[in-house]
Symmetry: C2
Subunit: 245 residues, 2 copies
């Protein structure tokens, strides 16, 4: 028995997110486990570094699973990739310590959120961007984003209202790649709450529209008042870029 | 009545190509004409710079149509884009001389063909590449491509065997963007025959695999012997990048 760490990429469009639910056919975890069970003949549990919501993508989701097999990591990768649908792929796989756990040992995650600004939609990447279609005041958004940096209780930006565990997280960096057509925002931190990135992006866009002040982010974090937050940005613009250990 | 030139982008995956056929719902031309007819109340013919095959994409297809309308070009663009499906978009539109014809006046076209070389498939752009999945000897392919440059009778690389018109074309440039994961080949010339780019790519790949010699391209062009050519590369890797006038 060995513990394997896998880096997984997926186009989340057709799925109900990472985490297995009733219909396993519609989740990435469900697809992966079905193939690993076929390969090993045993019931397998695969642990993701965290859930991604329905419609959210991943370039570098990390998961681990303990497997009884004679295959080399490369053979396991080939086997899984052969059976996976075309919108999911194992990018790499390696043997790791039996104590490695992709969720518990994660120290840093980076998400990217893409907002398409041009009224001319991006036909080729239409499933990977928020098709917003209008300009935004990016400077205002950048100014607002400063208030998110550092350690805060992000509970007002979390859609799971009754958190049993701490909702304090540290946002380490927020990077921007902006062109006339598209605004990409990279969020790097030690962890993100349920819907946190999408709620933050919704608020930043409201600020970029001139419908809220940059300082409202500070007020929300200081007071914990979720009534001040904006709507949630669409799932399709979000991608889990990588997980660090 | 004015003549309008439009630049159109489309993800060709779901379509039977540009040119209208029986079921107009499945072609780009059919989709466009249906919307223009709704807009003007008249029967409209839209002329593309050339057909693209079923499954082939375009970043800059050019078409023109003569329209009776009070709308400004921007209003026409907004109207069409509102009714077009998400995988087709009018990038720009302008009034041009009544004598402008997108096919007859085209002087140069650029196509890009993308070959995915890595065994790890590209889940996000899987519809826009040939998922070849193995390395190729790119230097051999570049050497072979030299023989294509200039004016030649490309009939052996054309799948329409009984051409009534000349099959002589000039390939002006072939440019390469190659990474470990992907090989992009840009073909720029004054015109391309039916299936010509895909037949050429098929031959270049055969040469890159070591299954044909670079010099065979020269032999094919000199002798016109289509028996020496390889199979046709898949449609999904091909994209019409732009048309110059």
């Amino acid at each position: 028995m060995n513990n394997y760490k896998m880096v997984i990429a997926y186009d989340g469009t057709r799925y109900n997110g990472w985490q297995k639910q009733g219909n396993t056919n519609k989740t990435i975890q469900g697809k992966m486990e079905a193939i690993l069970e076929k390969m090993t003949g045993e019931q397998i549990e695969i642990h993701g570094s965290g859930r991604t919501d329905a419609g959210v993508h991943a370039l570098g989701q990390v998961a681990n699973a303990k497997l009884n097999t004679d295959k080399t990591p490369e053979q396991i990768q080939d086997y899984i990739n052969e059976y996976l649908p075309k919108d999911i792929v194992i990018c790499s796989i390696e043997k790791v310590s039996m104590r490695f756990h992709s969720r518990l040992n994660a120290v840093r995650k980076t998400y990217c959120y893409r907002i398409h600004l041009s009224p001319v939609r991006n036909v080729f990447e239409r499933s990977y961007v928020w098709d917003y279609g209008k300009p935004l005041d990016i400077e205002r958004m950048k100014q607002a984003a400063q208030y998110l940096l550092g350690e805060h209780d992000f509970l007002p930006f979390c859609d799971q209202k009754n958190m049993k565990k701490s909702s304090v997280r540290t946002v380490e960096r927020i990077d921007w790649k902006v062109t006339e057509k598209e605004c990409k925002i990279f969020f790097c931190g030690n962890g993100f709450l349920y819907h946190m990135v999408r709620k933050i992006v919704g608020m930043l866009v409201k600020i970029g529209e001139g419908n809220a002040e940059p300082e409202e982010i500070r007020t929300i974090l200081e007071t914990g008042n979720r009534e001040l937050t904006a709507g949630i940005a669409p799932a399709e613009g979000l991608c889990l870029m990588n997980v660090e250990y």
